[in-house]
Symmetry: C2
Subunit: 552 residues, 2 copies
């Protein structure tokens, strides 16, 4: 098998642990902190988690290891979308497990949670682990999107654990997966299975973040990769001086990725879904906002620019959501048949006009024709509009184009507008983890084993103080129930970890807000370049601007 020279070099990298985990397994002891309460709905959460609620926060510190000598057999799964550093969580877990007792065993269940249900696994050994150290991807055991949430599934998992003598499961996943980890932990406790569950916070989206989780792993590397590419595109725009680049970035439910990428690269425009929703912005307003920048720059002779558009942006536009709901209603069930039978687009258009409210028709009318047609012609098996297929970067560039044409007629704009489009998502989810993510993930895994070894259940592996050098990081554990509240999901009250949206009064957004007017009109691009692994610490080891601002 051929390996890249970088991969070979990265095998040699020794991830940095938090200071209190650096003295060897025999010198790690527990410092018990305060008992915890869930962030909201305490009584309901407590009722749902009678065995795992209210436990104490803990941190590790230097001191004689007092854990029980016991052979540990641990299973680990990767859940959901790829995030750089997942391999290192497993490597850290493995190293701590083997350093504690060579007889300990680590199972990797394949293809995500379904591997646990189907008892599909590998048993890790040194050679296997060594070929994944400090690498990107989830190819070590694969991942999957099956959700572990029903009692039936838990019973199967308990059986599998019993079969292999598994003493603990580590679940590496996002907010839903960690929510489910807490439920599984409670199930195991209630059924006296003796199996512990530990979660690790993963997602490039950055929306698994709260008082206890400073950031989810992968966010640093993914946004650095997107920022590298956006910076390259900015430099190209500023060299060629003739294109406007509309760059869509991943992030359907929160705009952290867009915001962080913007903080690193200072583009002319960056839309933030949470702001669009809070201010109830219309498509026309957003379009006008972008077109203002295009026109102001054109007036300076700069017919180029860069705009970052979060993937899920249109779903944050209230009037657009109403339009989608009306379309879904208009074509529900066999009503679609009459529509589909209409021979021409003009006939269909008349049908639509007759069926939509005036307000929604006004929104529909300002959409470019290609998007109009997409809304009606590409529907899912239930007849619903596939909002996720809407190419928001193309939607806005087309609307800006029309807006500028109107300005040209009115004599208020006299530039050229040539848009180009990009989508950044898959490009960053499997990059080699940055030193930060390599260190953080290795620490999360190492720490997860210490939580197992000390008998904790339903805890999240917690490493904090991340804006400081790794030596100063704090390792410990937090009951997952502490992060939970009750939310309405699919018509049911459900205990979940609250998803972290971009806070409009938070420091990262406030900083962006204070700068964006200048960025829109001037050329303030910053070119971060490719992620570096070997150079000066200020180039290689700093984490996100988001975290730096939050901790400033």
């Amino acid at each position: 098998m051929k390996l890249s020279s970088l991969q070979l070099a990265r095998y040699q990298y020794q991830p940095k642990l938090p200071g209190m985990l650096r003295n060897g397994i025999s010198e790690i002891c527990v410092k018990v902190g305060e008992p915890t309460q869930s962030v909201a709905d305490q009584e309901k959460i407590q009722a749902l988690f009678p065995n795992t609620y209210g436990k104490n926060e803990i941190t590790f510190q230097k001191g004689a290891n007092t854990s029980e000598a016991k052979k540990q057999v641990v299973g680990v799964i990767l859940s959901g979308g790829q995030a750089p550093g997942g391999h290192n969580v497993i490597c850290g877990l493995y190293d701590a497990l083997k350093a504690t007792n060579k007889e300990n065993i680590l199972y990797g269940f394949k293809g995500g949670p379904s591997g646990l249900l189907e008892d599909s696994y590998v048993i890790f050994d040194d050679a296997y682990i060594n070929s994944y150290r400090n690498t990107g991807g989830f190819d070590i055991i694969g991942s999957g999107r099956t959700k572990l949430e029903t009692e039936e599934q838990f019973a199967v998992v308990a059986e599998v654990c019993k079969k292999h003598g598994i003493t603990a499961i580590v679940i590496i996943g996002g907010d839903d997966s960690n929510t489910n980890a807490a439920v599984l932990a409670e199930y195991f406790a209630a059924h006296n299975t003796g199996v512990q569950v530990i979660g690790c916070p993963k997602t490039i989206d950055g929306d698994l973040k709260n008082e206890d989780i400073e950031c989810s792993f992968g966010f640093d590397t993914a946004t650095k990769t997107y920022a590298e590419i956006v910076g390259n595109i900015e430099r190209d725009a500023n060299s060629a001086k003739k294109y406007w680049h509309f760059v869509k970035v991943m992030g359907r439910s929160a705009s952290h990725v867009a915001l962080e990428t913007a903080l690193q690269t200072q583009p002319n425009i960056c839309l933030i879904g949470e702001e669009v929703a809070a201010k109830k912005m219309s498509l026309a307003q957003i379009t006008d906002y972008i077109a203002d920048s295009v026109a102001a720059r054109a007036a300076k002779g700069w017919n180029f620019g860069v705009a970052i558009i979060p993937e899920g942006i249109v779903e944050f536009v209230p009037e657009f959501s109403v339009l989608i709901a009306e379309i879904n209603e208009l074509l529900a069930g066999n009503k679609a048949d009459a529509f589909n039978a209409l021979p021409t687009w003009e006939d269909k258009y008349a049908f639509i006009k007759a069926g939509l409210t005036e307000a929604s028709m006004a929104v529909f009318e300002i959409l470019p024709q290609a998007i109009q047609q997409q809304l009606f012609l590409e529907r899912d098996p239930h007849g619903n509009v596939q909002v996720s297929l809407i190419e928001s970067e193309k939607l806005f560039s087309a609307m800006v184009k029309e807006n500028l044409a109107a300005r040209k007629k009115a004599g208020t704009y006299n530039g050229k507008f040539s848009p180009l489009h990009h989508f950044l998502g898959y490009e960053g989810r499997c990059a080699f983890p940055s030193n930060f993510d390599a260190d953080y993930c290795y620490s999360l895994g190492y720490n997860a084993f210490m939580l197992i070894q000390y008998g904790f259940n339903g805890y999240l592996s917690k490493v904090s103080n991340l804006s400081k050098p790794a030596e100063e990081w704090v390792a410990g554990g937090m009951p997952i129930t502490k992060m939970m509240n009750i939310e309405r999901r699919h018509g049911h009250d459900k205990p979940v970890i609250r998803k972290a949206l971009v806070e409009l009064d938070g420091k990262p957004f406030k900083f962006f807000e204070s700068k964006r007017e200048e960025w829109a009109v001037e050329t303030c691009y910053v070119y971060p370049g490719a992620i570096q692994y070997f150079g000066p610490a200020e180039v290689c080891d700093l984490t996100t601007r988001t975290l730096a601002l939050e901790k400033a």
Copy 2:
């Protein structure tokens, strides 16, 4: 102005010069080589370049500098598309110029060749130059696509040179720009202007390459950037195991970028335009070739893969070119009016069917409807099909989808096929130059000044032996006329530098050919990761696989 930490660190990088240029300006002398002949059409080229034809190749070596003491006033332009390292050519040129004589002056003409015609310039000083060292982009003075090729333009350039006392012009560009540099050099010589012209070989496309130019600058960095991204996508494909990624890469007239990216990443499929043309492959054949890989992998349970598609691929398919020519003919002039008046696509389709030959209609019929419509609906102001707008990555994935549906019916395929699409171009043209490109470009610029100082005209700055460490590189100059032949362009015989296509009997293609059957069916992905600037030499300093194979 905010600068990234990488940009600040890269300012400190000292590019490596070829050994013979390392002893200081006073210790560089000329070793005169053989007189040269053009690669073909010698008599015609000689007749067109009476003053600059047949000059000797030269190399530099260590020895007392015997050049005439003379104040040099040099002008430099960047021509055409961005390529990483352009800034370093100018930095090297500036450093050699100032090291020779502090009174020497370097003008940078802005926005490409038009800056020279419009006398729009900056005069470089240390502070200006220092803020662009080892950075990507052409934003130092901008670039442009105006062609310097007429006598009228040359007369204007001569005037501008006279006005500023310019003694030499350095043109940093691709094959056309260097062809024009040779013509300008001849003009200057014939008119006794005393102004010299030196060319530098730039293009990320890799098609400016011949016996004398081992590679054009920027190709290394751009392909490493694309390989980084393709590697990340491969790792994502191999983790998620559910998508086929179709990645289009830049390169309209040659497939060097696609080939190099494939050599670095070992995808399942990489199309090479030159092969498609040589074997007169049909769209159906290409589609079948890709679908074979999809089906073979699906049979192993692998419903994922990565295919690299060169941007210009459809233009290499003979039957497709015929189809385009027929469509252009079918809608030429006012014939388009009748077509445009037809109310529905069905009517238009009947019109098309009646107008195309049977062979072209057969090709047309296998195209996905979206592409069919694009061919007829999106035409340029002359009524011609805009072939460059055709999204070849989507064309092939749609055709593969249909092909697989037929196989499924026939019972020969039973997988899932979910394609995703990417286009990589602007992402790599302005990356921070790799150490190789930083060194190579700085050397090209430094060397260009030495050619000026020694009085050469119509020469290309030549640095060779590039697959070896920089210490062993060979610096010198080659008359541009040596690389020329006569080609038919726009109905006229023209002396031009021959464009280098991928050679199907060359070592890079042969190597690829020997491996691709395995790559198509197995998962042999290589993950190069981000360009590194500070690490071990084997990670940071190696240039392309193409060059390594060519020099092996």
